[in-house]
């Protein structure tokens, strides 16, 4: 291009040289004719009339060999002769715009050279001549032929490229590749040299595109890259990015550019933007602090909650580590977190305390997760602020402790109360027991008193009665004895018979007297005094009193130790005991073979009495109760339930013992041991 400019200028000078003031331009002309790169020549009558130094260098012929000797045909490659003639003809006819001025010449040494020729019609020595310039473009041609090959290659590439390529000149597409046409949904012929490029731009971006086009064409900007909203043939929208540059096309400015369809990219970007927006919204909506840090723990992303919780702004924390921000984590917590990260690449809900930069302690449930992003590892950190919960928990724990203490206090108070109540209850129970016992004792005492009173009355009466009965008995017995004497003195015949009846009288008197005596002894129970008593006698007395109760079938077997020592005792009371025991046996043994054995014996310390009957016996469960007051198995009115109880007390008062044994259905044995004083 530059070459052609220079040539044009040179031609201009040449023209001037020949037309105008020779002296003015002669030096300039010389400088051109002397230029070894430019060959200047003048042709007249098909012969070279002048050649410059440069011409000689390019062709290899000297000026002498050429001027008036050689014709153009002598050096031009024969196949280019026609083209040359055509060119000369055009130039001769005054057409200066011809560009087909490349020819090949054969140098003197036989080598081929590519030249460009610029010739003009001049008057030389009064005749028409052609003055011209010849430039060696052999090297350039070689390059151009390479370029041509390359262009072929690139054209293919461009034609089939996945980038739209276009060339605009004079507000029309001079070129558009297939892909470009495809992008806008047109056939190539519909676009090239046909439609206004503005038709492919959406109204929204028309002014922008026109402006950019203008800028390039006017040289305000050579290379521009921008996006616009395109309009396809079917009126649908296509987003494109265009990279355009201004260039010379066919000698005039044109805009050439490449264009890619970024609709998908745009959509993806839009989606990405939306997604990013969503992500950001969600991140900031999250009520928990969330941060993303790189592997050096430098903050990359933080959400609003993070800023609010740690009282920082996003700008403050970005690219800084928690440590740099003045956050302090307990050493054991952080080493534990590090361990977990090394092992599992994650940490789940670790309770940790953290001091923010203002020194406020906060409790968190901390979780983090390492993840790959691009080439490196990032860490997603989440914090659940449990400071409040912890405080509440602590408060609750204090409350709980207080409650526990309170409960403990109350419990111990209650326990004390309970103990007191228990004691009081026990006292009451004991008192009740005592009262019951006292009541029983009172009852017993009352019954005993009644019994004693009865006995006293009986004793008082029986003493008097004894006297009153014994006197008449004395009359009877005395009378009977007197009669016996009289009868004996009278010597009657049937004295024996009379004696029988007198004996009957005497026997009657004796028995009556015995009963009175027994009654008397028995009623002496209230006597305070202990007297010497013969237990055998007491037994006999009892049997006398019970005679009426001894029915015919009951055998009473007495085995009394006649050497039995007398003992100090309350005779009446012993009477009562033995009468009671013998009476019980009589009541128990009421069958055909009834038998009551009464034994007395003595050892060093005791007088022993055994009363054994073969009656119905006493069941085990009743046996243990027989000495209890008011315990009776007899029908109401038959027994008071006091007999054995009183007997037991009497024997105890005598420092003796009483024991009842029984084999139910077989026998009952009562043993009494009374100490000998």
């Amino acid at each position: 291009m530059r070459d052609s400019n220079i040539l044009n200028k040179s031609l201009h000078f040449l023209r001037r040289y020949f037309k105008s003031d020779r002296t003015l331009y002669s030096e300039l002309f010389n400088s051109i004719t002397e230029n070894p790169l430019i060959g200047v020549y003048i042709l007249q009558d098909n012969k070279f009339k002048y050649v410059s130094k440069g011409w000689c260098i390019i062709t290899g012929y000297s000026s002498e060999e050429t001027v008036d000797q050689m014709r153009t045909m002598d050096i031009i490659v024969p196949s280019d002769e026609t083209n040359l003639k055509e060119y000369v003809k055009k130039r001769m006819s005054g057409n200066t715009n011809t560009t087909d001025n490349r020819f090949r010449i054969i140098r003197k040494d036989g080598s081929l050279a590519h030249v460009k020729v610029y010739g003009n019609l001049i008057q030389y020595k009064g005749k028409n001549a052609v003055a011209g310039i010849l430039i060696d473009i052999t090297q350039q041609s070689a390059i151009e032929s390479n370029l041509q090959e390359n262009e072929e290659k690139y054209r293919n590439l461009v034609e089939n490229s996945l980038v739209g390529v276009y060339l605009i000149q004079d507000n029309r597409f001079k070129y558009a590749n297939n892909y470009f046409c495809e992008i806008f949904g047109y056939q190539p012929h519909e676009i090239i040299n046909n439609i206004d490029p503005a038709l492919l731009v959406h109204d929204d971006d028309k002014s922008k595109v026109a402006g950019n086009l203008e800028k390039r064409l006017t040289g305000k900007a050579s290379l521009l890259k921008y996006e616009f909203k395109g309009l396809k043939k079917d009126d649908s929208i296509v987003y494109v990015q265009v990279l355009g540059t201004v260039m010379q096309y066919k000698g005039r400015p044109a805009v050439m550019g490449s264009l890619i369809n970024i609709t998908e990219l745009k959509e993806t970007t839009e989606a990405l933007k939306e997604s990013e927006h969503l992500f950001e919204t969600l991140l900031n909506l999250a009520p928990y602090p969330i941060s993303v840090t790189d592997k050096d723990l430098k903050h990359i992303i933080v959400n609003n909650s993070y800023c609010k919780t740690f009282k920082v702004t996003a700008d403050e924390v970005l690219n800084k580590t928690p440590k740099e921000l003045g956050f302090i984590v307990k050493d054991e917590d952080s080493s534990m977190i590090e361990d977990s990260m090394l092992k599992n690449n994650r940490v789940d809900n670790v309770e940790t305390s953290l001091y923010d930069k203002k020194g406020n302690k906060k409790h968190f449930l901390y979780s983090c997760l390492k993840f790959k992003y691009k080439d490196g590892d990032l860490i997603l950190n989440t914090f659940v602020d449990i400071t409040e919960q912890n405080n509440i928990k602590e408060e609750l724990s204090i409350h709980k402790e207080n409650l526990e203490i309170l409960v403990e206090q109350r419990t111990s108070e209650l326990n004390v109360r309970n103990e007191e109540l228990k004691r009081a209850n026990k006292q009451l129970k004991d008192q009740k027991k005592d009262l019951q016992k006292t009541l029983t004792n009172l009852h017993t005492t009352q019954q005993q008193l009644i019994q004693s009173e009865k006995m006293a009355s009986l004793g008082f009466l029986s003493a008097g009665i004894a006297h009153e009965i014994n006197n008449p008995l004395n009359f009877i017995q005395g009378g009977s004895l007197a009669i016996e004497q009289i009868l004996e003195e009278s010597s009657i015949n049937n004295m024996e018979e009379a004696k029988t009846y007198l004996n009957a009288i005497n026997e009657g008197v004796r028995r009556t007297s015995d009963i009175v005596s027994s009654l008397n002894h028995y009623s002496r129970r209230n006597d305070k005094d202990r007297v010497l008593c013969q237990v055998n006698n007491i037994i006999n007395n009892c049997l006398t009193m019970l005679k009426s109760k001894v029915s015919g079938n009951i055998q009473i077997i007495k085995d009394l130790d006649l050497s039995l020592p007398e003992i100090q005792a309350n005779e009446g009371q012993l009477h009562q005991v033995l009468l009671n025991i013998i009476n019980n046996s009589l009541q128990a043994a009421n069958h055909e073979l009834a038998e009551i054995k009464i034994n007395t014996s003595a050892d060093n310390k005791y007088v022993n009495v055994q009363v054994i009957d073969n009656g119905e016996g006493i069941p085990k469960d009743i046996l243990k109760n027989v000495f209890d007051p008011f315990y009776t198995t007899k029908e109401p009115g038959e027994g008071t339930g006091l007999g054995l109880s009183i007997s037991y007390n009497i024997i105890k008062e005598h420092k003796g013992s009483i024991k009842i044994d029984s084999e139910p259905g077989k026998w009952t044995k009562t043993e009494i041991h009374l100490p000998i004083y």
Binding site: A463, E468, V509, H521
Partner: protein, 121 residues
């Protein structure tokens, strides 16, 4: 038969009659219907060796009578013979030596005779 007199005191005439009849065959029996009567009899008959007295008598009972009699007539043996069972008063009287023994009514002739014989031998 001298010095073998026995005094029997009882407020019941029938007893006096029967005692006289039953004992009188072997010994001289003097009877008195009261303590006062008996004291008189003791004054009158110094050869009375044994005195049997009833216990329950009007005006002066047996023990009272014997207490009085013993003061004047200490050389005699005194016995109570009664329809009462042996009681503490009698026991005391025996223990103090006021009376020698106690006999029971109705009369046991064997015991009475043994007692008299024992006293006279």
């Amino acid at each position: 038969m001298m010095n073998k007199s026995v005094l029997y005191v009882d407020d019941e005439p029938m007893n006096l009659l029967l005692f006289s009849k039953l004992i009188g065959a072997k010994y001289e029996v003097i009877t008195a219907i009261s303590g006062i009567d008996a004291l008189e009899a003791l004054h009158k008959k110094p050869d009375i060796k044994l005195v049997f007295s009833d216990l329950k008598m009007p005006e002066m009972n047996g023990v009272e009578f014997i207490s009085k009699a013993k003061k004047s007539f200490d050389d005699k043996l005194y016995y109570i013979i009664s329809g009462y069972e042996l009681n503490n008063d009698i026991k005391k009287a025996i223990e103090t030596g006021l009376i020698t023994d106690y006999l029971k009514k109705p009369f046991n002739l064997d015991i009475i005779f043994k007692t008299i014989e024992k006293a006279f031998t």
